[in-house]
Symmetry: C5
Subunit: 354 residues, 5 copies
């Protein structure tokens, strides 16, 4: 549940722009890595002291500073000062409850999006905040913890595979967002399979747990949608041709990832519709089942209660009961019983109860 709201209550009363790390500390240590490249060359180093990267800020090469771990407020402040990042931006970076958004500042573009992973065991979508600060020649990416999602990008830069080395920092930014969005497709696939499994269970042999699983899935869907929905608008905004940090050449790629975001949201909506339909099946299956149980009860009771009455009658101890003394009384009794059973049978048949 707490994934759904922003635990910002600890910040109440603090002046705006105060950095307070909100979110789980997902990594013990903050790691900084640097890749600096252009068409002709590449420099890649782990960074011990953040001050080492400052001189690269104004160089024409593409500078990508990746920071894993955002709880070190002091470090953030130093980066903020040097790269001229607005305190509100810094505040948003360390407060992981942001919704995906894009904000234009004089010197840079600030983008927040969510890296999602699906923990199949717990059946939970986990969300990690990715903040991107895109300057004219540098890109700073902030992750909550080290992940392998950007490794293929790094590999491509190293091996100068694809277009990445020959294009600017805006293309790098696109590449990272593309990696994030591509990962969403993976999650949708996992969800799709889980829905399919659940659908089979519901049609074949639903049990009381099925409904809570269904609810669980719906909740994850609500969460997923909440995380991804705003990204569509963020990317829509980026593809408008008026952001100085983004070149026309990159725009065509952003249009493509925008399209992917729409596709994903489409699929989420379809899945929500399917889940809603599954609840209907579940309920009507239950109701069917109830009907069947009731029919069995009714058939048995309707059949035997009258018979029991007849047997009861001839179990009475009245002095004067002529039938009891009849020679064929007992046989007559079975005759009555047989007749009643037959009548019931015809009645039930006509009602199509079996």
């Amino acid at each position: 549940m707490s994934r759904f709201y922003n635990r910002s209550s600890g910040k109440i009363g603090l002046p705006p722009g105060t950095m307070v790390h909100i979110g789980d500390t997902k990594t013990g240590q903050t790691t900084i890595s640097l890749i600096d490249y252009d068409k002709d060359g590449l420099k890649e180093t782990p960074v011990e002291n953040i001050a080492d990267v400052f001189p690269l800020k104004d160089e024409p090469t593409v500078t990508w500073i990746n920071i894993d771990g955002i709880h070190d407020i002091h470090l953030m402040e130093r980066i903020g000062q040097h790269f001229n990042i607005h305190p509100l931006t810094l505040e948003d970076i360390v407060n992981t409850g942001q919704r995906p958004k894009i904000e234009e500042f004089d010197d840079y573009l600030f983008i927040v999006c969510k890296m999602l992973t699906y923990d199949q065991e717990a059946g939970k979508v986990k969300s990690e905040q990715l903040s991107l600060v895109l300057g004219d020649t540098f890109l700073i990416s902030f992750q909550e913890m080290a992940g392998d999602i950007f490794n293929p990008v790094r590999e491509r830069i190293r091996k100068a595979k694809g277009r990445v080395r020959s294009m600017g920092v805006d293309y790098l930014c696109y590449t990272l967002i593309d990696a994030v969005v591509d990962h969403y497709f993976l999650i949708l696939e996992q969800f799709g399979e889980a829905i399919e499994t659940l659908e089979e269970v519901i049609v074949d042999k639903p049990d009381p747990d099925t409904i809570s699983e269904l609810h669980h899935m719906k909740r994850e869907m609500i969460f997923l949608r909440k995380q991804i929905w705003p990204l569509r608008d963020v990317l829509g905004r980026m593809t408008k041709n008026d952001i100085s940090q983004i070149t026309d050449k990159t725009n065509i790629y952003l249009r493509d990832v925008h399209d992917h975001a729409i596709q994903i949201i489409d699929t989420i909506e379809s899945m929500r519709d399917l889940l809603a339909g599954m609840l209907d099946i579940y309920l009507s299956t239950q109701s069917n089942h109830m009907n069947e149980v009731m029919k069995v009860l009714t058939i048995i009771a309707t059949l035997f209660i009258p018979l029991s009455f007849v047997a009861g009658v001839y179990g009475m101890n009245f002095k004067f009961m002529p039938e009891l003394d009849w020679r064929w009384g007992y046989l007559m009794f079975w005759g009555i019983i047989g007749f009643m059973v037959l009548g019931m049978f015809v009645y039930f048949r006509r009602k199509k109860w079996f």
Copy 2:
């Protein structure tokens, strides 16, 4: 289920513009066919080597290259190079999970739409991606497999029937989209009949399978809508008078097919409403049935349980039970029984239970 999402997970980590065929390989071999015509002449040949068609690119005649089978990445690359197609477009052509869309590039217009067929036996809508690359004098159409949907168009071109020979390549493009959209009407008709059949079943003699059939139909409807909905916007975009590849003369025809797309979506919405209403009937029919079963049980039980008690009383073995010794005891018993039955009968009548 897998129709609902894009199995793109195999592509994660690859640079954008990398062509990976995603989707079922629906045909073993890639077939290329060429129709090149203008008002005065027509040339139609199957193409062995794709290089044969390259010279036609810059001729003023209308050149229609149709490619059935999109899994041959190498072929795609060659076409892409020669016709100057952007890598992202090529990527979208071979990845069949696209939603219908239109993208304007400098040299061409890229349109994706879905050819749908309804497999009546499986009760499933099948979707095949049609990608169109519309240049100034050429049109390349990519289908997942060979189909007969475009045969009437070919026939018309051959016989110079209708307007097609006297108009440009944009009109040809319209004709293909029109053929696709016309086919949707056929699917709606099949759906309409299936809904009608289901409606009769639900009103007359619903059984537990009905609900899963209903669910099934809803799912197909969600799928259908997902495939067609975006096409409306695609066509809406095309009828705006500012795309250089589309002439005013063709525009009037596009407006017509746009109108058809709206009609189809309208009908899908109506069908969804009808299906939702059918669930309500089903549930209330079930509930009615339950009521009836319960009434039978209640009438029988309410009638005979008290009678059985009375019979039970006179089956007791108390030494001193004056009624047992009475001359008319047994008759009195039947009198009590008759009286009780009559009372119940009056009671049930008043409650309007039968």
Copy 3:
């Protein structure tokens, strides 16, 4: 059901602009009538040969050609040629599955709307397509069959009642649409009464048929909405001041009929809301009824089953059962029974079961 979709499958593969009559042939013969008038004079004749009306096309008088029956393709073609009507327009006129729409062509305005009638016996809304081709001095109206809906308009023209004779052909066009829309109010009234009747039935004495009647009504509502909804936009478009065929003076009248269309859609939405609410009542009434039945069963069973047990106990044949030999054993039995009945009575009272 077939009213909901366009049976266009017969047209698949034909070139656009091919006229194929789609819809029921509602009249055996095509009838053409002509009214030609201006402020000062009136000429009204039935038309044997369509060619007779052609000369009137370019005269400044208002020429109204009404055609009942649209299945005569050859006639349509001749009209089309002479009045310079686009093939797509002709195609739409003979294909009765159009949704209401407006299309601007160079020489004329093409308007499609639906004339609806409510067949109270079958409880079905019937739809007939009215196509209007509005030129600068002529108006051609195409109906599927002869109807009396336009008779009052004809009467007004003949008697020069109201404004109609002193205004142009656009006003005549407005008058026809107004007649159509006025007729919708009549249908809404009939629906309103049917809903009221149904509401009373549901509250007072619902039976299993009620729900299918409710569903039926919902379906007609969906159909009605589908037929009328687009007309609002058509009329909204017509009141924009930029269509050359429509003068400012007529515009004020179109604004009025636009207003009526909005009113009608408002009412349809309200009726849909009411019908949705009625399903809720029905279901909860059913559930109430079930509750009542169950209570009767429970009271009777809970009362008599324990009593029967007690009677059963004293019907046992154990050699040694002291109570059986007691002088007041039988009386004691009735005492126990009375005590139990009293206890149950108190219990049920406290539970407020009766």
Copy 4:
């Protein structure tokens, strides 16, 4: 029900602009009253002959003509002629089925809104149409019957209380609309109390009538919404700064009443949400109740039916039944019974059934 639609069927076939009074004639006689004022003076007279007010039309003073009763078509025509009112406007004034709207004519502004009253006994919202014709120096208000809603306004004019005497006729028009909208708040309060009462009933002791009361309330809500919703747009239109009859000074006041209309619609939406939630409670309360009834039945039946069987066994008349002859047979029987009751008790406890 008939409140929901416009009984305009009597008008079918009449030329537009034909005045036919539609609605209940709510007052026998038409009363005309006149207030004519400016900053310095006030003249207030009942009007016998409508011709008496005509000279005031062109005077610079504010002239307010109020007409109670709209069924006198002849009177309407005279007013129409003198004040230059368009026939369509006159038609709308006497046809009380209009939805709130604003229409701009060359000489005047025509506004329709609804005066609502809540008849608490019948639990019905009653609607009366108020039509306002706002000229440059005059305002004509048409009501279906005399009401006291405008008395406070008259009082303010007489006593020169507030701003009204020093401002123009547009401010007077605002004042009347404000009086109407203020009255809506009163209705919402009455509804709010009724909802609160119903909510308590539903939670505490719902009975079958509750649901029809709930339905009734929903219907009134739908009606209320239908009457008020369009007013928001009417007022929104009036606050746009481009209507010649409305001065900037009055605009600020219209903004305020626009704000009130939004507030009211907000509240209606909230109330609809609450009513929807109450149906859910009702249904689940019913279902709870059913559960409870079923549990009682099940406990009793499950307890006593097996016991009855045991008693039945020992009531059998087999010659050879050793238990019957045992000394402690009867005691043993009670032992079995006690054991079974205990077992059932433990079972039910574990199931948490009581």
Copy 5:
């Protein structure tokens, strides 16, 4: 319930701009406090006489006048006169039923928003109206009662912490709104926890009270939404760059709080979705429970009613019943019983009833 509508009925008939205090009088005495500061100095005094603050109006320093308690109409009038506040604004300040809004006047900006607190014991959201009048150098804030929500802001001003002392009165205004919005996060957290608790109860051991708690929560959600939703538009309006009272420097901060408002509404929507899903679980859990109860009843009744019949048969007193005299009759009886029980067992197993 009364929180949902505006108890304005007391005002009906009064001229617009008449101040009538509507709402609970939440504080006995009106308290005025003043903080006047600029970069260099600070003056903070409680104010006895409102006239003391009037001279500060035109000074260039930032003047913040906070008024706790709004029922003193006379005081309001004096403030209104001196600060040139429009009567409609004053009316809105003392009428606490406003929805959040922004209104631009010539001399000032008027903002209404809601300070919400969650009374955890009563489970109710309480709303207090905050009205802000933002002039060029002064800000007047009106609260219904003294609260501690602005204390941190005061502290920051006193200690010159953060940016507040070096920026203008618009930044102060932002700071107050930010404090209000930050508080909303706290309420969402409390709601989130309550929802989580309720969810566990529903899944584990729902009882009849659960549903009314769920309803209660939904109602609070509707209320919350109604209070917060319009604020989004208010803030959206403020971030448009065209309000003279708001500088570009502050705008960036308003964008941030606008973002927070969107986040909050997002979360409310998600919570509403979750609550809707919880009702579904509750109902299906209930239905499951019913099914289980019915199964127990059916198993027991189906098992023992036939057995009882058999026992009844051999309890009959027919003279001639051969079985009764058989040596092994009694044993045979138990044989039949055993056989029947076994049959039932197999039948239930196959139906998977236990």
